[in-house]
């Protein structure tokens, strides 16, 4: 087990390195204009551009530019090309916002997905199964920014039930304000996932419900409720937990760009969306690495947990 963990962690570091090199290359090779050109402004002389190139090291070979950039990422000195703010500080500012969104939404979609999946599996084949399935899939079929904009305008602005976007710090505005600001984003983001989770859980439950050990449990005279929760659900949840780990990693790393943008949460994802519009390479690079880190981390954690549960996986 120890060797397995070490191997996975080494693999994680290698993948992160590859991601950083690739991201750096993508944004330096793509024909998106010279950063020095853009920083100097419209009416700049070649001398000014050359000075900026020298100051920022744009005329150095790519590999040394990569090395300096990565050094700045780790020392926290990375600075934006567009407005000279510290990128790492900006990410730190967005962190609690993105985490608030991700954690709340992930818990919500896990709970709702499990509940609906179990319900549809028990009612499989009946009208209520079809109805709930279509509704759950409708949630999966909506563009998140569309649902978010409608919810924010009609429930927030028109009816005044919720604040119209924005984020409230727990420390400044209190716990209740924070929750009030987060309810709509949580629900909207969770809506996207509930359908997928309930469908996967439904088929897992239907898969195990006829297994021998379930029949044994019933034959022992256990209540149907106990059989469903302790025998069927417990086994059916394993693939769901894997799935949840990966989705959670993506949302933690700023993957919920659209939800953050439409509710103006000013999280890491929104920071990315704003930077990419200005082709501001340092924040784009840093947030991509940030996102990749959480994806790889959760992937690795899921693998390790899996290996701990099932020794056969360690060998492959």
């Amino acid at each position: 087990m120890g060797r397995f963990v070490v191997r996975r962690v080494v693999g994680m570091v290698v993948v992160m390195f590859a991601v950083s090199v690739l991201t750096f290359l993508i944004f330096n090779v793509i024909p998106n204009g010279d950063p020095a050109d853009r920083m100097a402004g419209k009416n700049s002389t070649p001398v000014q551009i050359a000075a900026i190139e020298k100051e920022w090291g744009f005329n150095e070979p790519l590999y040394s530019q990569y090395a300096t950039t990565m050094e700045k990422v780790f020392s926290g000195d990375l600075v934006s090309y567009a407005n000279q703010t510290n990128v790492i500080e900006e990410i730190k500012r967005g962190l609690p916002r993105t985490f608030s969104l991700a954690i709340g939404a992930a818990l919500l979609w896990f709970a709702m997905g499990t509940a609906l999946g179990l319900y549809t599996a028990i009612r499989a084949g009946r009208f209520s199964d079809t109805l709930v399935t279509v509704l759950a899939l409708a949630g999966v079929s909506m563009p998140v920014f569309w649902l978010g904009a409608l919810a924010s305008y009609y429930l927030g602005f028109k009816l005044g039930l919720f604040p119209n976007g924005g984020y409230a710090e727990v420390g400044e505005a209190g716990l209740w304000e924070w929750v009030k600001h987060m309810i709509l984003p949580w629900c909207v983001l969770a809506t996207l996932f509930i359908g997928v989770y309930s469908r996967v859980l439904r088929s897992n439950v239907l898969d195990t419900i006829n297994d021998d050990y379930v029949r044994t449990a019933r034959a022992k005279g256990l209540s149907e409720r106990r059989v469903m929760i302790h025998h069927v659900l417990r086994n059916s949840l394993i693939p769901i937990v894997t799935l949840w780990g990966l989705d959670f990693g993506m949302v933690l790393g700023g993957g919920a760009i659209l939800t953050e943008t439409v509710f103006d949460l000013q999280g890491v994802g929104q920071y990315f969306a704003e930077s990419v519009g200005q082709l501001d390479v340092p924040p784009v690079l840093a947030v991509t690495l940030f996102g990749a880190f959480f994806i790889v981390l959760l992937n690795t954690l899921v693998d390790i947990v899996y290996a701990a549960l099932d020794p056969r996986i360690r060998l492959s």
């Binding site: 409708a138 760009i257 784009v284």
Partner: protein
């Protein structure tokens, strides 16, 4: 994914053996495919939504007809025009910039947008673009993913190591962030690869990006399936007869992964349409003035308070299309894979 705040699915190395013969033992003499069709026919919800999708495609194809009825084009603006509604003259766009709401008549059936363009006509032409991107991107994803999955699964060894490590790295990229970043850069600079040159406002840029993002989610399951298929007796028999690797891949393996591809395809199209909308909303997808559901939505959302029809109309159209694909795809999966070994994925 979805791109767009979407769900990733783990590789559970799903294995689908030609449509799950074990089930429906009550119907002897039917091939797995016939059994699947029989199961799909029993699923009324899937059939209704499948039919709905074809109606929507037909509407998109009929876009020029409606443009003739409405006597306009998707790009022409009627900012200073006045039309007669219920016997009263009304401005298409008022002096305050508020566009007309749906008239339910020939002209401006679904209202106008802030540039005085006919929303119904743009919606239908936008449907063409959104569906083109959705279907083409899904085809690109399928083509690359099947090629990679087959090569890795069949040859194993170095080929597999190379492709699988590549997929691991691609898997680590946050799909939304990557899509948006590539979309914005290519939209500004265009795309030049050798002799191939694509201008920044071409539909091919979002199509290629969305197609590429999806690859990793399909290539892994295909590879897993090929890995186990290649050990089966019929592949061994073909090899013993001296069949070339190419022939084994196309003649023996491809028909056996076909059901997996069929299960994934509607879901890939659905996802690609959603991704187009997400990218366009962030300015990284279809570039104006070309209509697509995504660009119409991103124009509409900012005018939600004055002209809600600009948000609601294209949104409903998009949700209906994607929902019909999802429900139909769900039914196809139930039919081909009653034991649910293949998991749907949302890139």
């Amino acid at each position: 994914m979805s791109i767009a705040d979407s769900s990733v699915q783990p590789d559970l190395s799903p294995v689908l053996s030609a449509g799950g013969q074990a089930a429906d033992a009550s119907a002897p003499g039917l091939s797995p495919w016939e059994l699947a069709v029989r199961r799909l026919k029993r699923n009324k919800a899937a059939l209704i939504f499948g039919a709905l999708f074809f109606v929507l495609v037909a509407l998109a194809l009929a876009a020029p007809l409606w443009a003739q009825v409405a006597d306009t084009t998707p790009a022409r603006n009627h900012l200073s025009d006045t039309i007669v509604v219920d016997g009263k003259p009304e401005q298409v766009v008022t002096f305050d910039g508020v566009p007309i709401s749906p008239t339910w008549g020939k002209k401006f059936f679904l209202g106008a947008d802030s540039n005085g363009r006919d929303v119904a006509v743009r919606l239908l032409y936008g449907a063409r673009n959104s569906l083109f991107i959705g279907i083409t991107a899904a085809l690109i994803t399928t083509f690359i993913a099947v090629a990679l999955g087959m090569l890795a699964g069949y040859f194993r060894g170095w080929t597999d190591a190379f492709i699988s490590r590549g997929l691991d790295i691609a898997w680590a990229f946050p799909p939304t962030l990557l899509g948006v970043a590539l979309g914005v850069s290519f939209a500004l600079g265009g795309l030049k690869v050798g002799p191939l040159e694509i201008s920044g406002d071409s539909l091919w840029i979002p199509t290629l990006i969305i197609g590429a993002i999806g690859v990793v989610y399909l290539a892994r399951p295909i590879r897993g399936q090929v890995l186990s298929l290649r050990e089966k007796e019929f592949v061994e028999a073909a090899r013993a007869q001296g069949a070339s690797p190419l022939r084994i891949m196309f003649g023996e393996l491809l028909p056996n992964v076909a059901s997996t591809i069929l299960v994934f395809f509607p879901l890939l199209v659905a996802n690609a349409i959603l991704t187009e909308a997400a990218l366009s909303f962030l300015g990284a997808g279809v570039q104006p003035p070309a209509p697509s559901w995504g660009t119409m939505l991103s124009d509409g959302v900012v005018l939600l308070s004055t002209a809600p029809h600009l948000t609601i109309v294209p949104g409903l159209m998009l949700v209906l299309t994607v929902l019909s694909l999802n429900v139909f795809g769900d039914g196809v999966r139930d039919a081909l894979d009653p034991r649910a070994k293949v998991r749907l994925e949302r890139p």
